[in-house]
Symmetry: C2
Subunit: 397 residues, 2 copies
């Protein structure tokens, strides 16, 4: 009964599907980016009628740019050259150092991602193409042949916020098969971010898989909640539909900090966790550092490990929440309980650098114990991946 098609017929079938798909969406046979053996990289765009094609990316030398706030660093721009097939090309003059890089093209004024590259990340309302130059620390950002944890997107009830909210949870390799209890890192995003930010831009699951496989970090659960207290879920993941994400920070009136125990309770009643201060860490970037600051001092018995990554420190003047009151007393209590690690990290050109230096001075005056980590660069994900890679190995030891 089952007559077999010839190989040719099957290949035709597949070709047709490929053709239809390419005709539909313009699949191209050019390779971009092409990472050469020496780590120089060639970018290509097929745009035969274009007048000018530029490339902007965080691997190009940055430009100084006049802004209303003074001179700031802006990413470099370079031009691509059209070859005789109508394909625009640019090759980096030097090999690139190991890193996860982002870039876009500008085609006759339109800033677009690379249609030859399906790997991209959204940051707030912008999407960029990405690639990784391996080696050194950047190997932590790659998927390697090591045991992999599970990443779940699920929903929890926040009594405090009166919302059902989406949350991203990493459980380490072996979690499901085993019976042991695990420590938990609460990892908070910045303004404009959401419960997708750390897993996508931060490469959290790759960094944790790799650090755990290398024996450098203890197996741990990593909890990535949504830090916008008025928001149910990331853009596109709630009943608000497909709206344009924005940097506007909603509800900084202490609601997130106040309701944070809802998240801890959810995690501790749904996962096999070690329910004690020495097995709980909290850290975050920018707004998430701000949240970590106020949550850790509001609940001084909750976390033994606290990390402020490029943190905003001060609340808005009109913030009336009790969360932001009596901070001096609360800090005294927090530090009197000797947290095992109070870690502050910032880049030299971060616009919050001075605010953080002022904060360090205050800690010094009070003789509160902390560890400070400083590196180059500004308020960027490259630094936050580094900070996570540095912070996680220090936890739960």
């Amino acid at each position: 009964m089952m007559k077999k098609l010839t190989v040719i017929a099957v290949l035709l079938m597949i070709s047709m599907a490929t053709f239809a798909q390419q005709a539909l969406w313009g699949g191209q046979n050019i390779v971009s980016p092409e990472i050469k053996a020496d780590n120089t990289v060639t970018f290509r765009l097929n745009a035969p009628q274009a007048v000018k094609v530029e490339l902007t990316g965080d691997f190009l030398p940055s430009r100084k740019m006049e802004t209303p706030m003074g001179v700031m660093d802006a990413p470099g721009v370079t031009e691509l050259i059209k070859n005789d097939k109508g394909v625009w090309e640019y090759t980096t003059p030097e090999p690139l150092l190991p890193e996860l890089y982002s870039y876009t093209f500008v085609v006759d004024g339109a800033k677009v991602i690379d249609p030859g590259n399906v790997y991209m990340i959204r940051d707030v309302a912008s999407v960029t193409s990405i690639f990784i130059i391996g080696g050194g620390r950047a190997d932590l950002y790659k998927v390697n042949s090591v045991p992999h944890g599970t990443v779940a997107r699920r929903w929890y009830e926040s009594q405090g916020l009166k919302l059902t909210r989406r949350i991203t949870i990493y459980t380490p390799p072996g979690y499901e098969a085993g019976k042991e209890n695990y420590p938990v890192l609460y990892l908070l995003h910045g303004g404009g971010g959401d419960e997708e930010a750390w897993i996508a831009l931060g490469r959290t699951s790759q960094i944790l898989d790799n650090l755990i496989a290398q024996g450098k970090a203890k197996p741990m659960i990593v909890v990535m909640p949504n830090g916008n207290s008025a928001q149910e879920a990331a853009p596109g993941e709630s009943s608000l539909g497909f709206y344009v994400p924005s940097m506007r920070i909603q509800n900084t009136q202490g609601a997130m900090e106040e309701s944070f125990p809802d998240i801890v309770n959810f995690v501790e009643s749904n996962y096999r966790t070690i329910r004690q201060k020495s097995a709980r860490a909290i850290c975050g970037l920018s707004m998430g550092g701000f949240h970590s600051f106020y949550i850790s001092q509001q609940y001084p018995d909750m976390f033994d490990y606290i990390g402020l990554f490029s943190a905003a420190i001060r609340p808005m003047e009109n913030a009336t929440s009790p969360i932001y009151q009596n901070t001096e007393d609360k800090q005294k209590t927090l530090f009197s309980k000797n947290p095992k690690l109070y870690w502050i990290a910032i880049g030299k050109t971060d616009f919050l650098y001075k605010a953080n230096q002022d904060y360090l001075k205050q800690l010094d005056e009070k003789e509160y114990k902390y560890v400070y980590y400083e590196n180059d660069g500004g308020h960027i994900w490259r630094n936050w991946r580094i900070y996570l890679s540095e912070f996680a190995p220090m936890l739960f030891k």
Copy 2:
């Protein structure tokens, strides 16, 4: 100690971050797509120097296109018009019907996604911008204010394939809090797809959340494995790194079908499942329909519900696996055990339409019981979302 910044200083801080981010990646303040109250849609692209900007999308009237395989449907193309601000625009002449739509721009020959729209889906090696016109069946594809299931990406050991492999698993709302056991749907992707295909292009979690909330589908676990037996994980999710995905089907020699019990065993030993034939369903699109065909007849006691969506039916002539042998006997056995549902769905213009009609005739000749569903359209995700929406409500009742 904690001096408060003024509101202005905080806003400045936020503005600077926004500015830096926009300068970096070209965030634009134009809205695209803009879905009007009457469901007409305006598309916009800021490309002041462009000579020509076109739009291609599955909502435009299709064109006939000469191909080596004969005349085929290709998606429509239309031109955008530049307004006096250098922004190119196009508004649909008619309201669009409810559906999840895909589109790209063509800027002076470069096919690119809409930089104003952060919502996009990868299909094999192409990425398209997407939007949803709500109403009717398309409401199933939206995130609505209903209880949400959990979506986990995890890794399992395949003894048969000698690989650790990534798998996507949906557990229904209430799974974690409850104690009951659930039926399981195994949902298989097509050629060029992977364990991300059904969750992204197929809107599986939205469809299931909504059907369950409406009482139309039973709460069930949905398991979305990777159907390429040589592949550990989706492109970008394995140690192969960020390569260009392709339609090339690897390893159709029966390995996926033969090793399928590894997946069932993994699911049944890791989740609270009902371990019986009446609580197991398998279905898939195209190559996944092919897999469902051979897996269901290879293990005739495993599944009571079988769904072939735009299925490829016949193996390659050089396929020597015992999986593809004695299919007549195997089918006789399968149907002698009275599966509760053998469901075949295909669109009238699908290139596999004739192969499926031939198969229906064979089933008729043998008087094997099946249910047939036919609709318009071809070998496209719009149809596969419809088939899932039709198939899931018939299961486990």
